[in-house]
Amino acid sequence: MLESVLASGGLVLLRDSVEWEGRSLLKALIKKSVLCGEQVHILGCEVSEEEFRDGFDVSINSQLVYHDLFRDPLNWSKTGEALPEGALGALRAMYRRTDPGPVIIALDSLSWLLLHLPCTTLCQTLHTLSQQDTCSGDSSPVKRVCVLGLLHEELHGPGPMGALSSLAQTEVTLSGTASQTSAHILYRRPRQRPTHKIQWFSILPDFSVDLQGGPPLESQPHPDPDTPLVDPTTHLTFNLRLSKKEKEAKDSLTLPFQFSSEKQQALLCPGSGQATSHIFYEPDAYDDPDQEDPDDDLDI
């Protein structure tokens, strides 16, 4: 289910493209999490804060914790508002947070971070962020952390995409037909086979998700009527089936290497008119009649 994408925690990748944009789905998932009472932190890099908050109503907006990296990413204005250490520092600050309860960290967008930070550093930071619930040996209640990252597929090569996919617990890839959007959800659980699901949906103006069934089935291709189905068992040069008589004859045949009692008798008493085979051997001039002594032909 699309809503339960965030339930399992870990790193969730939301892969979108130019045709199928993912920010509305991201905002819809954020809205749903806030309504469920979870804490949501947003690291905004690509769009301004006003644009991001646009469309949410006041109650939701007041509960979002927004870290703005868009206005002043390199901290040139030197005011206290901007994040002092840049993107990496912001991520690490979130890691050191010790609030109990489940936390959703939404990264808008992960592509921006991937382009501005080295891939390995980003992978390591995301891994420590998303594994926060399992470590920490103190007796605090299990804090489930879910890192939701928006990733623009076309901006990156197969290398970084593969690296992030291998770290992610869930991947949602957006695609669709002309009229509807679909989300292909791939769940990667640690020691189990991955499962995937396709969900058709649309996002309503107030950022709630409307789940739909699939597109109408006319789009399936018809089998080509021109090429007839070929039956490979016709016109064979060998026999695939045996008649009953042939089968009986086959079963009663004694095979050459099977030692039955008749054969034993035949070998033990070679007489009684049976043509036994003899071997006639005429030694050559060079043949050695004595098997034991190899030097017999030397004249010493």
Binding site: T120, C123, H127, G159, A163, S166, T233, L242
Partner: protein, 429 residues
């Protein structure tokens, strides 16, 4: 290199080696000093370490990989001082199993373990090791597994290729710790007391490297340097390289490194095609092999080579490792729907077997190997050769039940010889 036995005898088993040595011992000169082992009569000193055995081909000291079928494919086992590289499958489901089998085998044999990972804590990895199958449970488990797999037509005796029935059955039993390879039950965890009784060292990268933002650039990735230093320290302190003379009882160090080369180790070989430090991984393997060759240790490394973009690096890594095994799972690939592969979960390719003190290596004849993860066991089978494919195609395309039986009579059936191995016996009419 830890090699065992007199060089150049070339005889078969160790029994005959010892016998030959004793036959030559007709001299009146007696060796003074303590004898290393009582079994041998002074001709050669066999190193008797628990869980090892000399290879029957070249006397190399071997340890078991934890999977007896894999041991057979590798020519008896993994040689001490070498690296076993497992190229991971795409979703990393089956390669951790081989990793855990290796470590579990070390615990059963009493070897020292060194577990290094950047993803999971070593304690967690050790908690999830499979439980060993012991004598009393084994027969029951295997019969149950075999029974579930037996298809109804396999009860027909073979009439033409009857000699295959005379083949000795593969050993189906696991058993006491004096055996070389053991069987493990994947559905159960190793008992806690065995883990606590074992000696292990863990290396978890995020803990060893504090988040320092200013790391001076050096020729090797910081994480790799730390790992190499850690391994070197353990080898030196515990005397695996013979440096500590007080150590009387020799033991093997089993090193397991998980997900080497992934971005979590700080290496960007998986992220970019033309990375700046493209020699990190190859240098690491080179230095690691140097450490292993001078000590009594064996190493297993799992590496996500499907993420490495530069194929030349994969070739270099293969050359720098000793034994390379590639797991290819069918999940998500087009082969999953292929009816030929429906019984299996993936293919296993033995990419390289080392030639240690030898001119030729012990490559097995079978090339089509497939693996299957049953509920309790990971089995490797002779999978999908031409005979099998053709048989299955004919079976699926015959319309009548009589025809089916006829084909089975002439093609024979696949016998279950044991949990680790199948022999395929196609009969030809």
């Amino acid at each position: 290199m830890a090699s065992v036995g007199p060089c150049g005898t070339g005889t078969g088993t160790t029994g005959s080696v010892a016998a030959a040595a004793s036959k030559n011992n007709v001299t009146s000169f007696q060796r003074r000093g303590p004898r290393a082992s009582s079994s041998d009569s002074g001709g050669s000193r066999l190193v008797s370490i628990a869980g090892t055995r000399p290879s029957v081909r070249n006397g190399q000291l071997l340890v078991s990989t934890g999977l007896p079928a894999l041991d057979q494919l590798l020519g008896g086992g993994l040689a001490v001082g070498t690296v076993l590289l497992i190229e991971e499958d795409k979703y990393n489901i089956y390669s951790p199993l081989l990793f855990k089998y290796f470590l579990a085998e070390g615990i059963i044999n009493g070897h020292t373990l060194l577990v290094a990972s950047a993803k999971e804590e070593p304690e967690k990895i050790l908690q999830e090791l499979p439980a060993p199958l012991l004598d009393d449970n084994c027969k029951k488990e295997f019969d149950e597994d075999i029974y579930n797999d037996k298809t109804p037509e396999s009860n027909i005796k073979m009439k033409i290729a009857w000699r295959y029935q005379l083949l000795p059955k593969m050993e189906a039993g696991p058993v006491s710790s004096s055996r070389f390879g053991h069987y493990y039950d994947v559905s159960k965890k190793m008992p806690q007391e065995l883990i606590e009784a074992s000696k292990w060292h863990g290396f978890f990268l995020p803990k060893k490297i504090s988040s320092t933002l200013n790391i001076e650039p050096c020729s090797l990735t910081h994480g790799y340097i730390k790992l190499l230093q850690f391994i070197q320290k353990i080898i030196y302190e515990e005397g695996f390289d013979g440096s500590n003379p007080q150590k009387k009882q020799k033991n093997i160090l089993r090193i397991g490194i998980q997900n080497l080369g992934s971005p979590l180790w700080g290496d960007d070989v998986c992220c970019t095609e033309n990375c700046d430090n493209s020699h990190n991984l190859t240098k690491f393997l080179y230095i690691l092999r140097g450490l292993l060759r001078t000590s009594l240790s064996a190493c297993i490394i799992t590496m996500p080579t499907h993420l490495i973009q530069n194929k030349a690096i994969i070739a270099r890594i293969t050359n720098l490792s000793d034994t390379v095994v590639h797991l290819e799972s069918f999940i998500g690939s087009e082969r999953e729907a292929n009816p030929l592969y429906k019984d299996y979960h993936g293919l296993i390719h033995i990419r390289q077997i080392p030639r240690l003190n030898n001119l030729i290596c012990d490559v097995s004849d079978v090339k089509d190997l497939a693996f299957k993860l049953k509920r309790k066991l990971f089995t490797i089978e002779v999978g999908c050769g031409v005979g099998h494919c053709l048989r299955n195609w004919l079976l699926s395309h015959l319309p009548s039940a009589d025809g089916t039986k006829h084909i089975l009579d002439s093609w024979g059936h696949r016998e279950q010889k044991g949990p680790g191995w199948h022999t395929a016996a196609p009969e030809y009419q």
